[in-house]
Amino acid sequence: MDNEIKFSAESLELVNRIIARYPEGKQKSALLPVLHIAQAEFGGWLSTETMNYVAGLLKLEPIEVYEVATFYNMFNLAPVGQCVIEVCQTGPCMLNGAGEIIQHISKRLDIKPGETTPDGKFTLKTVECLAACGSAPVMRVGNRYHENLSTEKVDSLIEEWCKCGKSSHDNPYNE
């Protein structure tokens, strides 16, 4: 990666506002929010360079960032596609056809869960209960939930994203 890892002025301001929410000396508390912002800004995943940069910003040892980044499911530790599709695979969604949805997307994009299409457009992930079991099956793409899924609905969403070149690397604080 040749691009230097450095937040935009706008993100830096947001990061500083977030750090100020925790007591003096407790800036480590800002780690999860700041990693979300970093993941959004630097390509949808956390490279070692990105994590080192965040460690520097929060005055932490790099290891403190690595051990956290590897614990939480939302952080991608390898490059992902433009658009990361996360389908819920837990009990209540399974009862209402999540398996079929996962299979369908897998077939349509010709990738298995965990993989990225060769053109770098899509990554398919299976995730655990998204707290939307009443409108199963459900998937999350960036800052949006898509609920009551059917294979038709999934097809039209994928078509739409192909056309608009959607990125799902959303900054959680920006609409």
């Binding site: 956290v68 009862l95 655990e128």
Partner: protein, 434 residues
């Protein structure tokens, strides 16, 4: 439809705006408390209400508050648990996205009662869009003088911040949540010390669920006694039930405690009966962690009493023939459901979400997953069934946090009530459900 404490105006899509919430009577409880009540007075009303924590454990809220070490010189914190990760539970999301000001108002009142100056909402990471709703609502509350310095000229000051998690069910466990809020891995802490003595940054801390806190404004407005008159016995008030699975009308319903389970499942006003017309087979009544019950035992207790939605009635019969209200995640399964496959799914979930600190939980969940996989896929042996029971017994009660129990109970209960189905899987060398 019964009394609505949390959802009266919830169908108004504008309710998330300050002005609209205010017009429905919002923030009057803050005015009442800060102008006419002492912090102890608020605490007293909450004790009288009999409100019990809605995050799953059902611990009396007033009592929890009274454990806070108020004499400590250190700052005190209030943390709202909005991590909602228990499979089958989606009621906090419903409140957060539609009625965020009720939560904020509840936090102000609770913070006042507890003498807290800084409060955090720990929000499940996947809820990016709710983070935006909350940030907006919190900003409005500051702007209108309900948060920040010297609220309504009362001398009481409170800061409130929202903090996103990053995808880890274990961070719903209160001490893992605190670790996570401190920017660490979500490894639960050994207790004692309890958070009331040493919580966030080792300071006295109260942690409450979204639904618990959102109930406080009603209690302050109407008084604890009036709240205690709603419901049944020691299950006072109303409960949000998240209904999912094979039913016609899945969704979130506010029910007065004591509402009959049978009416809830079959009435058109609620779940509307089974979606595909197939008979009811089983229900997991309190989120994936609680024991599963077959149709006969969820509708009636072993003594033939109709079951109702309350802590006591659902627990009637203990773990032999009863279950728990838990977080109120009501997962309904019809006859087409394979109990083994469903259990495999849940067990895989717990294996995935185990933080790995305790060997019984880390190794046990992983073994149970493997064994269930082989039973479901035709490689099971007859003694695997008792082996599963044995492993679950070796997890239960032997771990740092209750995730171990949460993984063990579904296994033990599924085998207790549906042993024949496991035996049949072994005999037929696999699954016959499609």
């Amino acid at each position: 439809m019964g009394i609505k404490i949390l959802t009266e105006h919830i169908d108004n899509p504008e309710l998330k705006k300050f002005e609209v919430y205010r017009k429905t009577g919002g923030y009057t409880a803050v005015e009442k408390a800060l102008k006419t009540m002492s912090p102890d007075g608020v605490m007293e009303e909450v004790k009288k209400s009999g409100l019990r924590g809605r995050g799953g454990a059902g611990f009396p809220t007033g009592m929890k508050w009274s454990f806070l070490d108020r004499k400590s010189e250190k700052p005190h914190y209030l943390v709202c648990n909005a991590d909602e990760g228990e499979p089958g539970t989606f009621k906090d999301r419903y409140l957060l996205e539609r009625n965020p000001h009720a939560l904020i108002e509840g936090i102000i009142l609770s913070g006042y009662a507890l003498g807290v100056e800084d409060a955090y909402i720990y929000l499940r990471g996947e809820f990016f869009y709710i983070l935006q709703i909350l940030e907006k609502a919190i900003a409005e509350a500051y702007e209108k003088g309900f948060l920040g310095k010297n609220i309504l000229g009362s001398g009481y000051s409170l800061n409130l911040y929202c903090h996103p998690g990053a995808g880890a069910y274990i961070c719903g466990e209160e001490t893992a949540l605190l670790e996570s809020l401190e920017g660490k891995r979500g490894n639960p802490r050994l207790k004692p010390p309890f958070p009331a003595v040493s919580g966030l940054y080792n300071c006295p801390t109260v942690i409450n669920n979204v639904e618990t806190l959102a109930t406080i404004p009603w209690i302050v407005n109407h008084g604890g006694d009036q709240y205690a008159q709603i419901g049944v016995g020691r299950s006072t008030g109303t409960k949000l039930i998240s209904a999912s699975g094979h039913i016609k009308n899945p969704g979130v319903y506010e029910l007065e405690m004591g509402f009959p389970v049978e009416e809830f499942i079959y009435s058109d006003q609620y779940c509307g009966g089974m979606k595909n017309g197939k008979p009811l087979k089983a229900v997991v009544a309190g989120g994936s962690s609680v024991p599963i019950l077959p149709a006969g035992l969820i509708l009636k207790t072993a003594n033939g009493e109709p079951r109702n939605i309350s802590y006591e009635s659902l627990a009637e019969g203990g773990f032999e023939t009863g279950t728990m209200l838990g977080s109120g995640g009501f997962i309904v399964m019809d006859e087409s459901t394979c109990i083994v496959r469903n259990l495999y799914n849940f067990t895989r979930f717990y294996r995935h979400e185990s933080c790995g600190q305790c060997s019984p939980c880390r190794e046990g969940t992983s073994w149970m997953e493997k064994i269930l996989y082989r039973i479901e896929n035709g490689e099971g042996r007859m003694h695997d069934i008792d082996l599963l029971v044995d492993i679950s017994n070796n997890i239960e009660g032997k771990t740092i946090c209750p995730l171990g129990d949460a993984a063990a109970w579904p296994v033990a209960s599924a085998i207790r009530h549906f042993r024949d189905e496991f035996v049949e899987h072994v005999n037929r060398k696999g699954c016959w459900f499609d």
